[in-house]
């Protein structure tokens, strides 16, 4: 059994309304009762960052993370199959919005785009259970950090802050572009986890800050975990961290999302 204490926080770009947030996060199974740790033989976590330039990208990001948590995929072929089916649903959802003005119609024609990162955490198949295996799939610059005792074990798919740019790879809704998606989904990763390990999923601006801090000798993982699991108002603590990073210019003004998962087995 995988047992996963979860903390999360999302914040819309400064100057935008909360409902304009275009990041999406999702997980499975559902905690029961709400707020309790996730428990199951498999735990799934996903994050997606809808592209600002496209319309209905929040809907697209939400569809991607929910679909992954219902039917996780492990290779480029299954990802593309899922995306083809999902894109049809996205078009159906948009079509229900009714007649659109010329500019909205044109944006829909261009489609929506989002980065995507999915993480599957499994219990061990062997012997005394002290941990298990994980695998992840990513398109773009939403990042996964696997940490142990506040030290970085794995950074995926980007490993240095200099790799962040303005043109990340994206999952498109356009069927013509989906065919080319497989070429970009060479980003698969797997590994082993142990009791007490922490996985952090972050959208690009926060992920870039984490790696910059790490590169200059800081302990971003400790900061996030301590705030994320602080006994009182963990979400408020993370929100205040985001605010102070924005105030100081340490982080780009962008939608900010983080999921922090602390694992135990047995």
């Amino acid at each position: 059994m995988v047992r996963c204490a979860l903390s999360r926080c999302q914040s819309a770009k400064r100057g935008n309304a909360a409902e304009e947030l275009e990041d999406a996060i999702h997980f499975d199974p559902k905690p029961d009762p709400p707020g309790s740790p996730l428990e199951g033989p498999v735990v799934l976590l996903a994050i997606a960052d809808g592209a600002t330039e496209s319309s209905y990208s929040r809907d697209w990001a939400t569809m991607l993370v929910r679909d992954y948590c219902n039917h996780p995929f492990h290779n480029a072929k299954t990802l593309c199959d899922h995306v083809v089916a999902l894109s049809e649903r996205w078009r159906a959802v948009v079509a229900r919005k009714g007649p659109l003005p010329w500019y909205a119609e044109e944006k829909v024609r261009s489609g929506a785009f989002a980065t995507f990162l999915g993480l599957e955490i499994r219990e061990s198949d062997e012997g005394p259970v002290v941990g298990g295996a994980w695998n992840a799939v990513a398109v773009g610059d939403s990042c996964l950090f696997h940490t142990r005792r506040h030290r970085l074990v794995e950074s995926f798919p980007l490993v240095t802050s200099s790799q962040f740019g303005n043109n990340p790879e994206l999952v498109p809704t356009d069927p013509r572009a989906i065919a080319r998606l497989a070429e970009h989904v060479q980003k698969m990763k797997n590994g082993q986890w142990m009791n007490g390990d922490v996985f952090i999923l972050a959208s690009d601006a926060l992920a870039a800050w984490c790696l910059r801090e790490h590169e200059r000798g800081g302990e971003p993982w400790r900061v996030l975990v301590e705030l994320g699991f602080s006994p009182e108002d963990s979400e408020g603590s993370l929100t205040r961290l985001f605010e102070s990073l924005l105030d100081s210019g340490a982080i780009k003004n962008d939608d900010l999302s983080v999921v922090i998962a602390r694992l135990s087995a047995g």
Partner: protein
């Protein structure tokens, strides 16, 4: 650092197109017989306005990141929008989006994703029509531009500075416009001076000059005047020019093209309307 202000709904920027509508614009571009410069320029401006709207369009509507205007000069000097926006100098981009004079339709062949092509009907919004009449009152036009931009900057003192995109095919007929052009680039917000693009279009099939760093080699005094009064390209514009258009540009490259064909006009307008920093 100049030209680093974020462009957002609370801090928009401004694009003002200034278009030569003199009689000589009824001539064709050099090397492109059959279609007038005025027609090509109206088409390019309509497509640029469409692109600006699309950059700001989201599911809930069009976000007012930009204020936009078009000033024409020829037989008259003044706002060049036709239809519902006629007479307006600068309007928020959402008003541009909602008020084209008409939507033309065009059938386009597009990839069907299975190796074939299918017809797709697209709607092309139109805000201005080609005009070509009379002289080239550039000085008068830029006195009006200064008034418009001065008012905008005083209302947005910390915004990303306005970009003025000036397209012309000939010399002014109402005097030397140097001081009027400089009068516009002397204006500034706290984020930098107003940016002026001078785009010269040609009736001759002459060698085009793109974003020169020096006036050496320019053919005449008129070209030198356009060079001297044009702004330096901003860092973001230089990046787009180099990366997307493979142009050789440097720190001293001016926002000026000479003897432009229609393709170069579209490229220059695209570079000029992408200042970066869009939220």
């Amino acid at each position: 650092m100049a030209y680093s202000a974020e462009i957002s709904r609370t801090s928009p920027t401004c694009f003002l197109f200034v278009i030569d509508q003199s009689g000589s614009m009824a001539d064709p571009f050099g090397g492109e017989p059959g279609v007038t410069k005025a027609r090509r320029l109206a088409d390019a401006t309509n497509r640029l306005l469409q692109e600006l709207v699309l950059r700001c369009a989201k599911e809930e509507g069009v976000r007012d990141y930009f204020h936009v205007g078009v000033i024409g000069y020829g037989a008259t000097v003044g706002p060049a929008f036709v239809g519902p926006l006629a007479g307006k100098e600068l309007v928020p981009i959402s008003q541009v989006a909602d008020n084209p004079v008409r939507l033309d339709e065009k059938v386009k062949k597009v990839d069907d994703g299975a190796g074939g092509l299918v017809d797709q009907t697209i709607r092309l919004p139109i805000w201005l029509d080609p005009v070509a009449n009379d002289g080239t009152p550039m000085c008068t036009a830029f006195r009006m531009v200064r008034t418009i931009i001065s008012g905008w900057v005083s209302q947005h003192p910390d915004g990303f500075p306005p970009v003025v995109l000036h397209v012309t095919d000939g010399e002014a007929t109402d005097g030397d416009p140097t001081s009027e052009l400089r009068g516009v680039t002397d204006l500034s917000s706290s984020d930098g001076n107003v940016i002026l693009f001078n785009i010269n279009v040609s009736s001759r099939a002459a060698k085009p000059i793109s974003f020169p760093s020096t006036s050496d080699g320019l053919p005449d005094q008129y070209a030198t005047m356009l060079f001297d009064t044009a702004s330096l390209l901003t860092p973001a514009m230089r990046t787009i020019a180099a990366k997307e258009y493979q142009l050789e540009v440097g720190d001293n490259s001016r926002a000026m093209v000479f003897n432009a064909d229609s393709g170069l006009v579209i490229m220059a307008l695209d570079i000029g309307t992408r200042p970066g920093n869009l939220r």
